[in-house]
């Protein structure tokens, strides 16, 4: 489920980085508050745990085995906010040192696997395992939470990949990044997750959670009493908004362009719109394609050279200021 570098347009990556920065900041503050001073090593070790869990092969009936994404387990063990930070750390480590998932796509991967999986996995589990559940209900709650969470994450990945052809294409209309539209990306991503990875995630999560519960329930995160309230508020808002959303969905699933996206979520993130044209460059207005003639390329290279000299000068001055 890790999106590698090159699959998403720079605009999409920038949007996700912009969206994740406040989430990371807020989650780290929240985690700090709930975990007290213990937070730093606990987050690191929670992330290390997630890393190892993702390495494990889990045997499934039929002699096969598969890997988990682990988001739901970590969220149930650490609480949703700490899990967001811990899973983001895991993903960062995988991207930087082991080449699993890209660096430019890191924020998008964190959104899918750290945010969507932790929040949905944790709250679904909490809602289904309310009160004092027996072992059977606890097992099912963890399984359902993990199954839904991993499929939501997969759906997010599919949506991110599927909008790429619409967002960024060359002058001749060729897709420049992930080439499949939503109508292909969504089924291609969802079928294996609904049928294969979803059950693995569900089974693995349920096994670990109920095992931990039997042996040492002190290990599982117990949120404060009021901690479900924000969830219900959010659900209420969603219920109110759903009819509106349905009204807005005039096009069949899988054929959203940027206009449908506008209709569906009410607005298009600014960055997406800016890069939504035929070009994928970060500064479309700045593009020097107007420069033509035999010297065009040379002039262009010179401009780029001057630009990089400016960058070096800026870094140099910044470095001097930083030191003093």
């Amino acid at each position: 489920m890790h999106i590698p570098d090159g699959y998403l347009s720079p605009g999409t990556c920038a949007v996700f980085y912009a969206a994740m920065a406040p989430v990371w900041y807020y989650a780290s503050k929240r985690a700090e508050r709930t975990l007290k001073l213990r937070q730093l090593p606990l987050l690191g070790l929670g992330a290390a745990f997630a890393f190892v869990i993702m390495l494990f092969n889990i045997p499934i009936p039929g002699g096969s085995s598969g890997h988990m994404a682990g988001g739901a387990i970590v969220a149930i063990a650490l609480g949703p906010w700490a899990a967001i930070v811990a899973l983001s750390l895991t993903l960062a480590l995988q991207a930087f040192l082991f080449g699993d998932g890209g660096l430019t796509t890191l924020a998008a991967n964190c959104f899918n696997m750290a945010v969507i999986m932790s929040i949905s996995g944790y709250y679904i589990y909490r809602v289904l395992a309310f009160g004092a559940p027996g072992p059977g209900r606890r097992f099912l709650a963890a399984a359902a939470a993990a199954y839904i969470a991993v499929n939501l994450a997969a759906l997010a990945v599919a949506a991110e990949l599927g909008v790429q052809p619409g967002l960024a294409h060359g002058p001749d209309g060729r897709p420049l990044y992930a080439p499949y539209p939503l109508s292909i990306a969504v089924p291609a991503m969802m079928l294996p997750h609904l049928l294969f990875f979803g059950p693995i995630e569900a089974f693995g999560t349920a096994l670990v959670v109920s095992y931990i519960y039997r042996m040492n329930q002190g290990l599982l995160y117990e949120g404060g009493k009021g901690s479900l309230r924000p969830l219900f508020t959010a659900l209420a808002i969603l219920i109110v908004l759903t009819p509106l959303g349905l009204l807005a969905t005039g096009t069949p699933w899988g054929e959203w362009g940027i206009d449908e996206l506008r209709g569906l979520i009410g607005y298009v993130p600014e960055g997406m719109e800016r890069y939504g044209g035929g070009r994928a460059g970060l500064f479309p207005g700045y593009s020097l394609r107007g420069v033509e003639g035999p010297y065009g390329a040379a002039i262009y290279a010179l401009a780029a050279f001057l630009g990089s000299v400016l960058v070096v000068a800026a870094v140099y001055i910044w470095g001097r200021l930083w030191k003093s």
Partner: protein, 287 residues
């Protein structure tokens, strides 16, 4: 101490069942753990060679690679991407890493992407000028261009991150990153790395212990409950370790904010590197 009777069996006599294959998922797990640990150490070996990229300051190197990645992400020109690929090859050889280790790291994702783009070349997905095919199915020129270009971009981006990982010692990497993003996250990231290595050892030991005891193919249910108990063990160990590490930090004066040594000044080499990579980035904008 009195040993039970069945301990006194004759040497060289095996009573357990025969002809049973070793247990598949255990082997796979062991192979995976071993390969991760091996990767950490081989990477460190390449990163300690005294090549061009290894001598750069961590901050400058990370910044430069981010600029190159941005360039690779933004360009719409295949020629430009080929150019970057050549630059990567040159950098890999002057950094005494060579192309083979980079290729080895890129290979798995490359294969995945290759199979992923295959369908895009056929007319059902990308209509256009049909080159060859039969029975209504055909490979189109546009499809090949789309797929080929996508594959090329992915190769460039993957090679860049591979080269970064192969030429950066882990300590330099974390130090460099610590100057670029908040220290809280970098310290936590370092902990993740440091303790993932230890927890993998725990997982490996647990798996080895199981391997040494298992003879036949255990049932799925039994294997699954084994997995659950090991995962719980690792979680428990990570919690108790987190506690101890925290105490060890507090004991040495940690009070909520990590103080790190000040950064040294960047050298001429580092400025040249940043200049070069921003030049590439600016070039990518117009191509």
């Amino acid at each position: 101490m009195k040993l039970p009777e069945w301990f006194k069996k004759k040497d060289g006599e095996c009573q357990s069942g025969r002809g049973i294959k070793p247990h598949g998922f255990i082997e796979r797990n062991l192979a995976r753990f071993a390969s991760i640990i091996k990767e950490v150490f081989t990477t460190e070996e390449y990163a300690s060679r005294g090549g061009l990229l290894q001598r750069l300051d961590g901050r400058a190197k990370l910044t430069g690679f981010f600029l190159l990645l941005a360039a690779g992400a933004m360009t719409g020109s295949a020629l430009f991407l080929f150019g970057v690929l050549v630059v990567i090859a040159v950098l890999a050889s002057v950094s005494r890493v060579g192309i083979a280790p980079v290729a080895k790291r890129v290979f798995p994702s490359l294969v995945f992407t290759f199979f992923l783009v295959l369908p895009v070349t056929v007319n059902a997905v990308t209509p256009g000028k049909e080159l060859f095919g039969y029975n209504g199915f055909a490979v189109t020129r546009e499809g090949l261009l789309t797929g080929g270009f996508f594959l090329l971009r992915v190769v460039v981006m993957l090679s860049l991150t591979a080269l970064l990982a192969l030429t950066t010692r882990q300590s330099d990497f974390f130090k460099g990153l610590g100057r670029l993003i908040p220290a809280f996250f970098v310290t936590a990231l370092f902990f993740t790395f440091r303790y993932a290595v230890i927890l993998i050892k725990t997982a490996e030991d647990a798996t080895m212990a199981r391997k040494s005891r298992s003879i036949g193919r255990a049932g799925v249910t039994e294997s699954q409950s084994w997995f659950a108990s090991r995962a719980a063990l690792i979680l428990k160990r990570s919690f108790s370790m987190a506690d101890e590490v925290n105490m060890a930090m507090i004991s040495r004066g940690f009070a909520g904010k990590v103080r790190t040594p000040p950064a040294g000044a960047l050298g001429a080499r580092d400025y040249l590197w940043i200049g070069f990579s921003s030049f590439v980035l600016f070039l990518s904008i117009g191509t």
